[in-house]
């Protein structure tokens, strides 16, 4: 020892870093990634690789050549955005569409605002919604996955768009579901989705449980989304089961689980306090069901989360934690 280090307290730090938290999110996404590749095949692997690579490269290039700052890709948040974007599109999406999505996600929604922590909206969702609005055909039709080495088969609509189209043609919900052959066991385990990330609900939930156990996220946002979606759709379905889909169908379809577990819980774009998170979650749940039932888009989770992202600063103002020894 030659010199004494002198600095203010505290002198130790927890093991957590932005990178370690993001690494945990990546780990939590691995089951869903594996499932999506197993069920959708090698095309999904390409979607994932293209998405992650373009997100990471783009962030690196923007920091290096435009901002001329040290690169931030080491915090792994671009990797997460890449994986989430990939899981948010059907595996049949062409690679150039995904690249456009990542440009919007990283370039527009994230780096324009100042990078990680500064963005108002979840980058992957902004990318996804951009693609949904710009390329609706790619985003709402999918091919029946044939497993890792199978060939593409029948092209079909996602369950939510199938139901919306059926309703417009005057059929009842039960008739459409019987015709399309939807059943909940299949939805929970695999093989009934639109986007790759919707193919296995259980894998997503396993990742969610991991994040809660590791204390990376708190469960309240996700649980309040689930509870709200279930309750609101229960009311509508109870009133008119011919016109409205039932709660279980709503919970299992349309990327609700992916959105509620991995995108609504994004630190940057969600409220900090527990009760703020509950309000946020209830808002997402309510908007999701209303958009699905009454909106012109079959799918509402992405819009609902982005809308609620916008009011997070307001929620944060309304739900400050109680200060010690003050009224």
């Amino acid at each position: 020892m030659s010199k004494l280090l002198v600095s203010p307290s505290p002198h130790i730090h927890s093991k957590d870093s932005t990178r370690s938290l993001m690494r945990d999110v990546v780990i939590a996404l691995i089951p869903a990634v594996i499932c999506s590749i197993v069920f959708c095949g090698w095309k999904e692997l390409i979607v994932l690789l293209v998405s992650v690579a373009s997100c990471v490269l783009l962030e690196w290039a923007i920091t290096k050549y435009m901002l001329k700052k040290p690169s931030t890709v080491g915090d792994l948040s671009a990797v997460i955005t890449g994986i989430l974007l990939a899981l948010n599109v059907p595996y049949t999406t062409p690679w150039w569409v995904i690249v456009i999505g990542s440009v919007v996600a990283i370039g527009v929604a994230k780096m324009t605002f100042g990078g990680l922590g500064q963005n108002i909206w979840n980058p992957a969702l902004v990318g996804r919604v951009f693609l949904l609005v710009s390329f609706p055909t790619y985003m709402t039709t999918w091919s029946q996955p044939q497993g890792l080495f199978g060939a593409d088969a029948i092209t079909a609509a996602t369950p939510l768009s199938a139901i919306q189209e059926g309703l417009m043609q005057g059929a009842s919900v039960q008739e459409i579901m019987a015709k399309e052959g939807y059943n909940y066991g299949q939805m929970l385990f695999a093989n009934l989705g639109g986007s790759a990330g919707e193919v296995c609900a259980l894998a997503l939930l396993a990742g969610f449980v991991y994040l809660c156990i590791r204390k990376v996220i708190k469960p309240w946002i996700t649980l309040s989304i689930f509870a709200t979606v279930a309750l609101v759709s229960l009311v509508f379905w109870g009133v008119n089961p011919d016109r409205f889909t039932d709660p279980v169908f709503n919970l299992l379809s349309g990327g609700l689980i992916l959105g509620a577990c991995f995108m609504a819980t994004d630190y940057v774009t969600s409220p900090m306090s527990v009760w703020g998170g509950v309000v946020f979650g209830v808002g997402i749940g309510l908007l999701t069901v209303l958009i699905r039932y009454f909106g012109s888009y079959p799918e509402g989770v992405s819009f609902a989360i982005l809308i609620m992202n916008s009011v997070v600063p307001l929620i944060n103002m309304g739900f400050k934690q109680k200060k010690f020894g003050r009224k």
Binding site: H11, I12, L116, S273, F324
Partner: protein, 456 residues
């Protein structure tokens, strides 16, 4: 509310408290407590004995300071303390170990408490007793509640929630009887109110031992309360909340909710001063750290140079990069190894660079971990921004002055933002503004009164 759970690293917990051989020269600071520095009452060349007063209080909030050794006063001059600040020190060259008459050095436990409360308070004052939990606030002042306030419970703080520290734990195990009698004295002085000895659950031996001692000595109204392991459980406001369910308001004193809190080492010092006539001349110091080959709890005479203590234990290892006086969360980094210990020195912790390294700061990711960790319910991320914008008014509105500087926010921040560093700055400005306002209001009131008197 809030708090963090750092690894407790109590690697010196099995080390008995051993007396450190007396250093050849000690340097006794006259500024060892909160309040006015004491005034030296010895002159260069004077012979002093152990326990002899060498400095008297410089004001009501002040403390007597005693010689911790016998020998000759060599100099009375400014010297750098362990943080590098200058303070007057009395340098004494040690000759033998001759104690002042009247100090009971025997091990006999004296349980009979003097009847006269005033006399007890005076003994505590004469013994130079200050809060040894960190704040070093003069104990007799804390035990004299302002008129209109009433003490309802005495709390003895045995949480020792900072990682690494074990001197209070060892004191509870080895001097449990004395601590309990000290608690009984404090309880008696405060009017016989109930007394709680609060110990964290990670010290089961101490909990069991103190319970046994209370039963053996037959004290009523003194109980051990087992506290959850959490930092900063031993923070004064947090402890009162946990024990009594009452929150001390912003800027208020514990007595405002009827609490008087004293640390375990202070209770022992009260026992020594009242029952044994022994002023604070030494204190238990934990010397620890993974990079330090020898863990120890030493009984160190006040004024011993840090270098002497570390050399006694084999010197400073090459990998040690930082030496901390106190615990890793709230302790001060030592800037000067020639500095001497003071009454409040409870630990010397040696950390390697890897253990204490601060990673470079990155963007706030709004995870809210700092707000979750803050035991005062503050929003460190917000206070940090306000402090960086030098917005002291908004800092005050968001209660920067309530910060207890426990370090939980900075400890838990995954983006390694120096939250507490910035909040400290804001707190300083806000407290200054509050003081200025109070002074201005007082001056205005006096001026108004003077003009009203003139009109009469």
């Amino acid at each position: 509310m809030g708090g963090v759970h750092p690894h407790d690293n109590k690697i010196s917990r099995e080390c008995r408290i051993e007396p450190l051989p007396i250093a050849p020269t000690v340097y006794i600071s006259v500024a060892q407590h909160i309040g006015a520095p004491s005034v030296p009452v010895v002159a260069v060349g004077d012979k002093v004995k152990v326990g002899q007063v060498v400095a008297e209080p410089g004001g009501f909030v002040g403390a007597f300071i005693h010689s911790s050794v016998s020998g000759t006063v060599k100099s009375i001059a400014p010297r750098a303390d362990l943080a590098g600040r200058m303070a007057t020190h009395i340098e004494i060259a040690v000759e033998g170990d001759e104690w002042l008459e009247g100090i009971d050095r025997s091990e006999t436990l004296v349980t009979a408490i003097p009847e006269d409360k005033k006399a007890i308070l005076d003994k505590i004052r004469q013994g130079g007793v200050v809060g040894l939990g960190g704040a070093t606030f003069p104990t007799h002042v804390k035990l004299s509640p302002p008129p209109g306030s009433k003490c309802e419970r005495v709390i003895i703080n045995g949480c020792e929630c900072e990682p690494y520290l074990t001197s209070d734990f060892r004191t509870l195990l080895e001097k449990g009887e004395q601590v309990v009698v000290g608690a009984a004295i404090l309880k008696y002085v405060m009017g016989g109110v109930p007394c709680t000895i609060a110990i964290e659950e990670n010290k089961p031996e101490a909990i069991e031992h103190i319970r046994e001692v209370i039963a053996r000595l037959g004290y009523e109204g003194i109980e051990v309360m087992v506290m959850k392991m959490r930092y900063p459980q031993g923070g004064e406001k947090q402890l009162i909340d946990a024990v009594m369910g009452r929150q001390v308001g912003s800027g208020a004193l514990p007595i405002s909710v009827g609490a008087v809190v004293q640390n375990v080492a202070t209770a022992l010092a009260v026992y020594d001063a009242v029952q044994k006539n022994k002023p604070i001349i030494d204190n238990s110091v934990t010397i620890t750290g993974q990079c330090f080959p020898k863990q120890a709890n030493l009984l160190v005479r006040v004024g011993t140079p840090l270098r002497y203590i570390l050399d006694y234990l084999g010197g400073i290892p090459a990998e040690a990069a930082k030496i901390i006086s106190g615990g890793p969360m709230m302790g001060r980094a030592v800037a000067n190894l020639d500095a001497a210990t003071v009454k409040g020195t409870g630990a010397l912790l040696l950390l390697t660079e890897a253990q204490t390294r601060r990673a470079p700061e990155s963007n706030c990711i709004r995870c809210g971990k700092c707000a979750d960790a803050c035991p005062m319910g503050l929003e460190p991320f917000l206070l940090n921004k306000l402090a960086r914008a030098k917005d002291w008014e908004a800092s005050e509105a968001n209660a920067a002055q309530d910060c207890i500087e426990c370090g939980c926010c900075l400890y838990s921040c995954p983006a390694h933002i120096p939250l507490l560093d910035n909040i400290r700055v804001a707190k300083g400005f806000v407290l200054g503004a509050i003081r200025n306002r109070a002074a201005a209001a007082k001056a205005a009131a006096e001026a108004a009164k003077a003009s009203a008197d003139a009109k009469k």
